[in-house]
Amino acid sequence: MFDYIKHLYKGILLIVIIAAILLFSDLNNRNKQKKENRFFDIKHRSEFFAEPGETYKIGIVYFAPDISLDILFNGLFTGLKEIGFVKDSNLQVTFSHANGETGNIQPVLQNMDNKDVDLIMTMTTPCLTGACAAIKNKNVVFTYCYDPITAGAGKSYSDHLPNITGVGSFPPIEQTINFIEKLLPGIKSVGTIYNSSEANSRKVMSVARELFKQKGIKLKEMTVTNANEVYQAAQVITSRDIQALWITGDNTSLQAFDGILKNTDRSKIPLIVNDIEFVEKGATAAIGIGWYHTGYKTAPMVARVLLGENTENIPIENIVEENIDINFDKIEKLEIQIPDDIFDFINAKSEKLKLTKKLNLTLIQYNDSPISEPSHEGIIDALVNLGLRPEIDFELTARNAQADISTLNLIVDATITENYDLVFVTSTPTLQTAAKKIKNTPVVFSVVADPIIAGAGKSFTEHLPNFTGISTLGDFEGMIKLLKQILPDAKTIGTLFTPGEINSVNNKDELEKYANQYGLKLIVVPVNSSSEVTDAAKSLISNDLDAICQIVDNLTSSSYPTILKISKKANIPFFGFVSKQANDGAVAVVARDYYQAGVDAVNLANKIFKGENPKDIPFEFVSKTNIIINLDAAKFYGINICGDVIKSADKILY
């Protein structure tokens, strides 16, 4: 045995030396936090982590369904999942709500108290207030509540009812008033509607009254007792002399938000809210709390209580992530001039990135092709357009496996080792390798025809948690429609395809689908290497074709000149999906822009830079399709192109 090893020493030595070199290249990635002299150390998953094999039951009680709450749930369950509490798996959740009526809160809470749950969560202030009185035996964790102290949860954040703790999110009142003043300079009076029996609204109003007074703005209040009264209250208040209506997070008013909106729209009064989510529903502007963030931050507290920590010892927390959103449509209709500083503020908040450090990015490509290069350029240009300076604000390391699958694996491993902030990948095999290996870094893919078939997710919205990206499936319907417009009598079209490329096969199937739908017959000829293209193209045109409609794949996108030449000889018009084919004599091109695919990938990446979770960012199709018509080529084939087609084209070549 010893003798055996003796003859292997050179190899073993070399492996050890090279492994050591590799490790030392990584020296700066060593975990520097551990200062004490421990050479071997095992890291446990998290301070709070679900016990394996244990099932937890929580009951959730809230006032009524609303969109902000859905967003908070999203954050909450994401946060819980990350520490091992997976909803519908080891975490059973029972939901119940009071249907928007204060009177229902007590029975709902009592019912939950009698159920077999380990913990009750309350959302909304009225439910918390109810829980303070009704629930004595079970632990309560609250969230989605402006001011837990007013709600009755305790005397202070650390001195609270023994079985109740949670997260409060007091709205940014002062900022709201400043915001209104900036948006509407010289404003004299602001109206508001709230339910005076909601403790949170009362608290907000008492703070707001003082602040408005200091600014010299009149606050005209309307109180309601249930959602049915809101519409009328809105009618009344909008007919008074107010220049803006402000609705805070009052559950009752928000229940009847549409009623308020109708009135403010009619009387052209800007509607300012404290819940960002209502901007989409038609509010003019919002300054408020990012509820996803609040939900996410509530998760560890829920975990602590579920794992047996005494609620009495967990102080209440105040978590507010300030957020601004503006409905530019409404702003325009109301003819409001947005002052520069608000513009800057919104930009600072949402559009532009505030970098705390240099972004370390990487791009992995599988091979060099006429498709991979423009997408690479698109990514770089789009990053620069975000206002990032190369080498100063970001660094993009590009790697290419040169069509070797094992190198691709190593590149992905190297990427994991080097701790990038975000990874871009192009092409299907690259996406798949990354999907298998990269678990913690966000990955944005592009130039993947069908990410679902590639295995990146079940649908465009339900996908791998750290992945999102751009699908570049061609616009086949657009192509077929265009072809029918240019050649109304066409019956048969043809294309070459590469059975060895999954993109090619998908593209062919899609084209066939739409061709059949529009009454065209598609003839396909397979081709496996660039040397076969000439023969394949010749065999294709020997069918009685009205047009060649060449789909995209790696092989034909580099050898299309051959196909074009043959189509010219046979006088069969050529239609393509790659923009530069138009320059070379294609009659028309419907191009998914691969440059744009790079740009779109960066736009998704930008959302991630801003803190969105890739899990919540759906996959998208590439945003731009270019229709390019070559009139010269059309003349060559003796085709008359009508005015409508020319009008619809993005680019005309003569």
């Binding site: 590799l22 394996p52 040169q402 094992s406 190593l410 298998k436 060895g500």
Partner: protein
């Protein structure tokens, strides 16, 4: 650390390819190009069967069988139809491209959500040490699952190597080795050399397909183009392995091929880690092989001149 573990794991998986290449290239002196087709065939069979619901272990074994048949056909073309070895390999490799497309039904089969052998290894990791996510070794953190996968692959490769070693020590195995060394002599002893060549190539390609099956499960998909360049990887590993040995014997050569494969991966990993221009990747790979090829000769020259 992830890169180190990753490159050793890939090196080990592809060491089956190296051992397969060693059997055809060194034992039979047969320049076998079937490799590029059979590694994909192994991946295709394993991936398709796993997606179909077959147990991954059975799928992996059937992948070996697939490669075995492919190699056998190359051998048959060479021995029965007297086709030049290089050509026979090219013929089968070309045909396998279509076969692989049929096996998979399309050009790419993802395994991301299916249970593979690798998933079993990872589950085993959770079973033994359920609460550990990563391990800190001398300051470098490594994912616990990656380490388990590496260990299991290592054990698997050692077991397979021992089986191959023992096989080539049997009478049949010895006859096969002798066929490569001296066909005339072994024919005179009454051994059917054609059968030996067919069987040898079959085993060689079976191992290569096995390598493909593991690779597909490790990286999470099979792609019809994944075989490109694999002949070079296999031969390079064999050559680097040989350059490392001071004495040549069956056991040492098999171990050498495995070490060569790991070393080759590590070298590529370093090239990647040091951030060289991505366009130069292939030329650097070629350079490694070149150095490995001339190294033993150079060392001997120096030795003769008494320099070292």
């Amino acid at each position: 650390m992830t890169l180190l573990i990753g490159s050793i794991t890939i090196g080990l998986i592809l060491s089956l390819l190296a051992v397969g290449s060693y059997i055809s290239f060194r034992i039979f002196k047969f320049p076998d190009l079937t490799t590029e087709g059979s590694i994909t065939l192994g991946a295709a069979i394993a991936a398709s069967l796993i997606v179909y619901g077959v147990h991954p272990l059975i799928a992996t074994i059937l992948a070996f069988a697939g490669g075995f048949v492919a190699g056998g056909i190359t051998g048959l073309l060479h021995t029965k139809f007297k086709i030049n070895g290089l050509l026979a390999g090219i013929l089968v490799m070309t045909a396998l491209y279509s076969v692989n497309l049929h096996v998979m039904g399309r050009s790419n089969v993802p395994l991301l959500s299916d249970i593979t052998l690798i998933t079993y290894f990872e589950q085993f990791a959770d079973f033994i040490t359920p609460n550990i996510e990563s391990i800190n070794i001398l300051g470098w953190t490594a994912s616990e699952k990656d380490i388990y996968v590496l260990l299991f692959i290592l054990i698997t490769i050692i077991l397979i190597s021992i089986i191959i070693y023992l096989f080539f020590k049997t009478n049949l195995g010895t006859a096969m080795r002798a066929t490569g060394d001296n066909q005339q002599m072994i024919k005179a002893l009454g051994v059917n050399t054609n059968l030996m060549i067919i069987l040898g190539l079959a085993i060689s390609n079976g191992l290569i397909a096995l390598s493909g099956a593991f690779l597909a499960q490790y990286q999470g998909f099979a792609d019809v183009q994944m075989g490109i360049g694999m002949v070079v990887w296999g031969l390079a590993s064999v050559i680097i392995g040989e350059a490392l040995l001071s004495k040549k014997s069956l056991g040492l050569l098999i171990t050498g091929a495995i070490m060569g494969s790991i070393l080759f991966r590590l070298l590529v990993a370093i090239a990647l880690r040091w951030g060289m221009n991505p366009n130069d990747l292939k030329i650097i790979t070629a350079l490694f092989v070149f150095i490995a090829l001339i190294m033993p000769g150079m060392l001997n020259k120096f030795k003769r001149k008494g320099i070292c």
